[in-house]
Amino acid sequence: MLKCLLTIAFGVVVALAVPHPASAADADYFRGKTITYIIATGPGGGYDTYGRMISRYMQKYLPGSRFVVRNIPGAGHIIGANMIDAARPNGLTIGMFNTGLIYNQLMDLEGVRFDLAEMSWIGKASNEIRVVLISSNSGFDSFDDMLRATEPVKFAAAGIGSAAYLDSRILDTIFPQIDIVTIAGFDGAEGELSMMRGELVAQVGIASSYDQFVKNGGGYFGLAMSHLAQELLPDIPLAADYVTDPESLQLLSLLEALSDLGRLTSGPPGIPADLLGVLREAHNQAVRDPELLAEAMRLNIPIDVGSGEFVERRIKEALDQPPEMIALLKRAASSK
């Protein structure tokens, strides 16, 4: 009798302790269904490439499902993000948009109808390690050299209000010894061209997007804004090594949080936990799939997997900023 009870007890304990994989019933929910994967840019470009690749492999791990990609560009990813946010939380609409929208929400900018803290985060596929790219013909041999500049230093950036523009203004705030003048409007590779022509000296951006430019000798990485760079770019100085005042450290910590997040997939707020779990697992398996990794290597795009839970935590941390920090950000953004 005792042996029988113990066996039952043991069985119950094991059943409770071992995490259940998503039950077949949950994964079956997507069988025969169409999942719309919204990409907040037009066809072509980084987000589209990642988004199409991820949706193809998620389809593989949700048997019987059909993924359909939908490009919803406009207003710097805001239209696409709003659309994902407004979708029904039935797991059938998910998508990808620019992490920089965190800034938009923090500073309460126009057009934002979503609350990133409430969205159903499914996972991340990359990181966005911010670096300062300095032109080879800038006359500066290093970032330390630039710190000693006596004239204003001209940086290129994408449109005003873009994440790259804000990063550049934050850099100017963190390093008051340099007068950084950020000139907006350089989309795509226009900034690199401008650096080659000698008009502009540097820009702040994502390290992986400058690979070819650095390989071809157009520029070098002068400074990394996140400790994540240490593994990939070990010889590059870190911004954290220069900065000591509390305000600058706070701004840097925001950049650190953002650097960890790249190519995020999310769904609208309120997706039921079990469905969300299935989607997260499918994303997790998709981004670790050897074929996807091989494809990414050939496309020369970095992969850095992160779970939906991790992304959710990081986003909430990034959004949980005191009012002084938001004021600081707004000040940095509106300075020239």
Partner: protein, 500 residues
């Protein structure tokens, strides 16, 4: 010049059955994607990329580039037949190409377009080959200062395109510029004329503007006459002889054809000005350099030749910075660049020394694909004629649908379908009362480039940007362009009213 490498690559391209077969697949695909209204060719590249994944570099690059190089030729088909641009660069050919179709010369217009595209594509490829030794200084000579002045030069063509109705023409040109200001201001990031609507943050798309001025007002006009016997031409099918006449026009106007091919190639070489600007600047140049500019806007074949040569030659130019600096010369090239990397090709300055045969294969692919495109389209043209000569009752609803579809696909926002209703009603009234429409489209195309470049130039150099050497040359051209217009109007009296 490594003639042996150049000729060797051509020989390999033409005698390798696999590569020839890939071009035979790629060219019709490129024509198809180009002809779909509002899409542009980028979606074709995006869809093709997974298929070329495991290919070797040369076949993969050949199929992609062959497809990409004929997209604009495909885009000219709906532009000429229905006034619906396939993509932004095909907007200029609507002005005279569509008028030629209405006059019953659609076959000739198509022939001129195909011939011009073919010639432009070949000359662009030749240009690419010749420029190899002097690449870097030429690409780096053009900066935002020069872009601004080139845009202003294009804008001065507004006067020429206004014909007799100079006040109307200039007003509409300025209106086009005002429409170009809709969106986010480049200097402050603040929204202008957006009425709180997010979809207007990116401005009014050029295809929306052209559809609102051409295809849609034409259909409203056609539907208002209700003449069931009216056709868009004299015959239902275009004869191949008409097509050859159009091709012959390209060689009859050989000086213009070569000039606009070169202008297109140079503009393509310099990333930043945009492909739409190339075709419009060349169109404006054709008007200005013509002895009888009053014919433009009413079906002048040069109005088809000029933008079409530029459309294709600029791709040859755009390939240069893509291959040699890994800096894409256009948005299509940005996709190709990613694909080249995926195929294991390493763009950069060393590509000339380490991979010269590959470079020459690409140059020849551009040329051969364009020629192949011309041959295929000559065969298709009689059938295309049947489409254009449908009776109005059938033509109108389909053109309305595909125009609205093109507007939606170009911008990606459904709200543009509502916006275009109001713009098209305005366009109809303007057409009815003889306000010349080309200046409006020039304003919409060149306005954003002009403002964006001005803002950058002022931020980099301050007002002294005018004193850069190349800037002074361009200022001279602008002054010359205006002087030429003034001298002409004095000399010949008023032009005839262009019914554009």
């Amino acid at each position: 010049m490594h003639i042996d490498v150049a000729l060797g690559s051509l020989y390999t391209l033409l005698t390798t059955p696999y590569l020839v077969m890939l071009m035979f697949i790629a060219v019709p695909l490129g024509i198809f994607f180009g002809a779909m209204p509002g899409l542009g060719g980028k979606i074709g590249i995006v869809l093709l990329i997974p298929f070329i994944f495991g290919m070797d570099p040369i076949p993969g690059a050949v199929i992609l580039l062959a497809m990409h190089s004929v997209v604009h030729t495909g885009g000219s088909i709906p532009s000429i037949l229905f006034g619906i641009p396939g993509d932004g660069t095909s907007t200029a050919v609507v002005i005279d190409g569509y008028e030629m179709t209405k006059k019953g010369e659609g076959g000739r217009a198509l022939g001129a377009s195909f011939g011009a595209s073919g010639l432009g594509g070949v000359l662009g490829a030749v240009f690419l080959g010749l420029m190899l030794p002097v690449l870097e200084p030429v690409i780096l000579a053009f900066s935002p200062a020069e872009f601004f002045l080139l845009a202003i030069l294009g804008i001065t063509f507004i006067a020429t395109l206004s014909g007799k109705n100079i006040v109307k023409g200039l007003s509409l040109g300025l209106f086009g510029l005002m429409i170009a200001f809709v969106g986010l201001d480049p200097s402050t990031g603040g929204p202008r004329y957006t009425f709180g609507q997010l979809f207007l943050w990116d401005g009014v798309h050029i295809i929306t503007a052209v559809l609102a001025m051409y295809a849609l007002p034409e259909m409203i006009g056609l539907g208002s006459t209700k003449n069931v016997t009216m056709k868009m031409g004299k015959s239902t099918r275009y004869k191949v002889s008409e097509v050859w006449q159009g091709i012959g026009d390209v060689f009859r106007h050989w000086k213009l054809s070569i000039r606009t091919s070169l202008i297109g190639a140079v503009i393509g070489l310099v990333p930043g000005l945009g492909g739409d600007a190339a075709s419009w600047i060349c169109y404006g140049h054709a008007v200005q350099s013509s002895k009888t500019p009053e014919r433009f806007g009413k079906g002048a074949v040069e109005g088809v030749i000029a933008p079409e040569t530029a459309n294709n030659s600029k791709e040859g130019g755009a390939l240069l910075p893509t291959l040699f600096f890994a800096v894409p010369g256009s948005s299509g090239m940005a996709l190709l660049l990613g694909a080249f990397l995926m195929l294991g090709i390493q763009p950069g300055p060393t590509i000339v020394t380490e991979n010269l045969d590959f470079v020459w294969t690409l140059i020849w692919t551009l040329a051969v694909a364009n020629l192949l495109c011309v041959v295929i389209l000559i065969g298709l043209t009689p059938w295309l004629g049947s489409l254009a000569n449908l009776r109005p009752s059938l033509l109108i609803p389909f053109v309305l649908t595909f125009a609205l579809l093109g507007c939606y696909l170009a911008s990606g926002a459904w709200q543009n379908v509502g916006l275009i209703f109001f713009l098209a009603c305005l366009g109809y009234m303007l057409k009815r009362h003889n306000w010349p429409r080309p200046p409006f489209v020039i304003g919409v195309v060149l306005g954003p480039v002009a403002e964006d470049s001005l803002h950058k130039a002022l931020a980099i150099w301050g007002p002294s940007f005018f004193l850069r050497p190349l800037s002074l040359v361009l200022i001279g051209l602008i002054v010359g362009s205006i002087a030429l217009y003034v001298w002409r109007s004095r000399k010949t009296g008023n032009f005839e009213v262009p019914d554009a």
